[in-house]
Symmetry: C2
Subunit: 481 residues, 2 copies
């Protein structure tokens, strides 16, 4: 194991974090609020530690193997969250270390589960930093899914990259740097466009930037305690819905869209299912809302599609308290929470491509029982999917479900009722934000015991990194020569 | 499709059902109660219809293919439940057709979910018939898992039969008849032994026979509204625990036990896990009960192991209302409900062998990610499991979970809260009996709307027949030439 290169990578990344903290300091200075010192100290400490790590590892051999990559990827989220929580602690705005770490890792993993009871009371610099953690996390996850996850061979992640200029061999291709840059450009561009559109809808510049950050990251942190429900404007809600949907789609498709290759988008099977699921659930819930809540067709449709897109893409904004809706509707949304965004998006969850492979394989299993000697492969985009990938996808989903149930059990030990235990687990494991039960959209995670918060933070991490990336480090086989 | 042979098989099986109805009539006559006429008419109608079916199919070609077998196996449970519900309807004891059918299919599938609010008020003949449906169902399921399911190739079911004198080729071997007879003998023998042991504990002969019927079938119907909690005797509770455990183990192991080949039992990997899971969950819950319920060590252990064995083997007896225990305990029991008995037992659920293969495969997936070019098979009993079987097992589990979630959703449409919806689904899909929420062990299924009862009956059927057996008939590929 090349430990020095791991240290070096973390050191370099800390310098980047220090820069982003400095950016937040700028915001604080504009507003002239008291949080500037906390941000300045945090940036300084992060810079200092980063520099030390770089200094002690300057002789590192520049060879990053697969195993080093696993460790770097897992550690960077933790290290970022530790240093990223400093501003909250130093400013006294979130005095508990547990709460501050929870809020920060919930940011970097683009989860969006919050412990804050009065978001509006927080100074602007810290609020900006809070949204920025999600934007950075979203950026990081795009790079990861383009450059690193396909190399790990974690099921389904290889599939989406086939059509994209990206890594094809089993080592990081020089073109990956190109691709990553290009996708960052698109990420930035969409953030700017959404900001402008939200400004046109009457949002303040500060709120518009923050919401664009957390939309594109499918993060879901809002600057308002009431989340997007604060703005009753249909225009704002529809704009956010559209950008959540874009953020939950494969980013390479946006690349095609910009190059006006719309046919290529439609050819992508995962996208067609993503669109199909979204419309299907939205329409079903619209109909149910029309009859149960009596809010009229447009409002029902808007509430339905906003909530479906928000939860399926794992963003987690709310324009309505879906826990107050009919039980079948909130149960349906609970099922939607398992879906997740597309591969190659900033969304979490199981991911559409895996859901589709699982469904296709289940149906084919009947065919295989009838024709036991025929070889009947799963097909995506008209190509046969390798049997190993299918097995890994199934193993992933089974793992996801096991973790879901075991974690629900663990959360119930912390005194939560079954529904809240399930809700908190899927909200964090799926990087969604709000869950069901007492962690629904109208409430938050403040009352969960400390140990529960640390555990949920761990779930955010493994959920964000496609389970295997983190858990493999805990397996003995990983450390065997 | 050879429809005539299907009709012929059903006709012959109806004659058998008519005989068992006659047996219940005998019990009714002994007690001199008013239900004799209902049982007599039911037996007569069943005999009559069976004879007609035989008559119209007497020219049937004696060739049963795989597809005919699928249809016979699925239909027989439905047909038996239709005719088996006649005594309840004709006697007026369960006037609603829905309720009577629910109670009967719950019997034949060895589920044990009941709609009865006052079991003790029912005449003895009908109570005996109710228990007998489970005993017949258990018998049927043993024959099926020995003779038919391995031929279908439904994942995991091939595995247990490898060591047993049973079918090895892809058609029904003449030795299967031998094996089936032998296992029936064991089933009958255990039923008699348990009856004697329960008599020795002070149970009445009627109660002893009924409980032995429903223990060996892992059915769980009791002659008392309070279930086994009616008898406070530790002896009775331990005897039932042991026999539930035996019924949840592979029946071929009992065959070895009778031949004093204990080493062979220990060599069976599924059995070791079955024992291990049972002890693990029992001990964890014992410790939790000692501290939360203050009932002393012996009582805590007895309640814990009784409930764990009852729910894991999918029997469903209760000696305590586990819904009144701490939330973490009832949540743990909810997880146990997914496990199920061993393959080749009368237990339902996912089955231990599948759970073990799933776990092993999940752990190996890490190894495979580290060594992407190595072929790393799952091993059971020191032998590599075919990759197709592993994939089928994973597909089975994924299917099980999908059905669980979708059915929960459907039940929530019938007005159930989320917990009760989940509880009713797992109770019926897993052939357990009581669930969680408002269908816990202290309550029953009476208040569920009619449409919900029919749907739950369908879940019992597909759960009992390893999902694929029934669902394959609904797939278009099945009907294509």
């Amino acid at each position: 194991m090349n430990f020095k290169i791991i240290i070096r990578a973390l050191g370099a990344l800390l310098l980047i974090e220090s820069f982003f903290l400095l950016l937040s300091l700028g915001v604080s200075l504009i507003y002239g609020e008291s949080d500037w010192s906390a941000l300045l100290y945090s940036s300084g400490i992060t810079l200092f530690v980063g520099a030390i790590l770089l200094a002690i590892s300057h002789k590192a051999v520049k060879k990053v193997g697969k195993r080093e990559a696993y460790i770097i990827v897992s550690l960077v989220w933790i290290v970022f969250s530790i240093f990223g929580s400093l501003p909250f602690i130093l400013s006294g705005e979130i005095p508990s270390i547990t709460d501050a770490f929870f809020e920060t890792i919930s940011g970097f993993t683009t989860t969006g589960s919050s412990i804050l009871n009065n978001i509006e009371a927080m100074p602007h610099g810290l609020l900006f930093w809070r949204s920025l953690t999600q934007w950075i996390g979203g950026m990081g996850i795009i790079v990861m899914s383009i450059a690193i996850l396909p190399i790990f061979g974690i099921g389904g992640m290889q599939l989406f990259s086939a059509e994209v200029p990206g890594p094809t061999a089993d080592k990081i291709h020089p073109r990956v740097r190109e691709t990553a840059k290009r996708l960052w450009g698109i990420y930035l561009m969409f953030t700017i466009i959404e900001t402008i559109l939200l400004l046109l809808g009457g949002m303040s510049l500060f709120d518009a930037i923050n919401h664009s950050f957390t939309t594109m990251a499918t993060g879901g942190y809002s600057t308002k305690q009431a989340s997007v429900a604060y703005w009753s404007s249909p225009y704002i809600q529809y704009v956010i819905t559209i950008f959540m949907f874009i953020a939950g789609a494969n980013f390479s498709l946006s690349y095609f869209a910009i190059n006006l290759k719309f046919k290529k988008i439609w050819q992508d099977e995962e996208f067609r299912y993503y669109l199909g699921f979204t419309l299907f659930f939205s329409i079903v819930i619209t109909v149910m809302l029309i009859f149960s809540e009596n809010l009229g067709i447009e409002r029902s449709f808007r509430d339905a599609i906003f909530q479906v897109v928000s939860l399926m893409t794992t963003t987690g904004y709310a324009t309505a308290d879906y826990m107050s809706w009919l039980v079948p509707i909130s149960t349906l949304l609970f099922v939607v929470m398992f879906f997740g965004g597309s591969a190659g998006s900033t969304g979490g969850g199981i991911k559409i491509v895996r859901i589709v492979i699982m469904f296709k394989n289940s149906v084919l299993e009947f065919k295989r029982l009838i024709h036991p000697n025929a070889i009947i492969p799963v097909r995506m985009n008209h190509k046969a999917v390798n049997g190993r990938v299918v097995r890994n996808v199934l193993a992933f989903i089974v793992f996801y479900i096991i973790i879901f149930f075991v974690s629900t059990l663990i959360m119930s030990f912390f005194g939560l009722d079954v529904e809240t235990a399930m809700g908190s687990v899927i909200a964090c494991l799926g990087n969604i934000g709000p869950g069901i039960g007492s962690v629904g959209p109208a409430e938050n995670f403040y009352t969960i015991p400390d140990a529960g918060k640390w555990f949920l933070g761990f779930l955010m991490l493994i959920g964000r990194l496609e389970l295997f990336t983190v858990l493999i480090i805990l397996s003995p086989a990983f450390w065997k020569k």
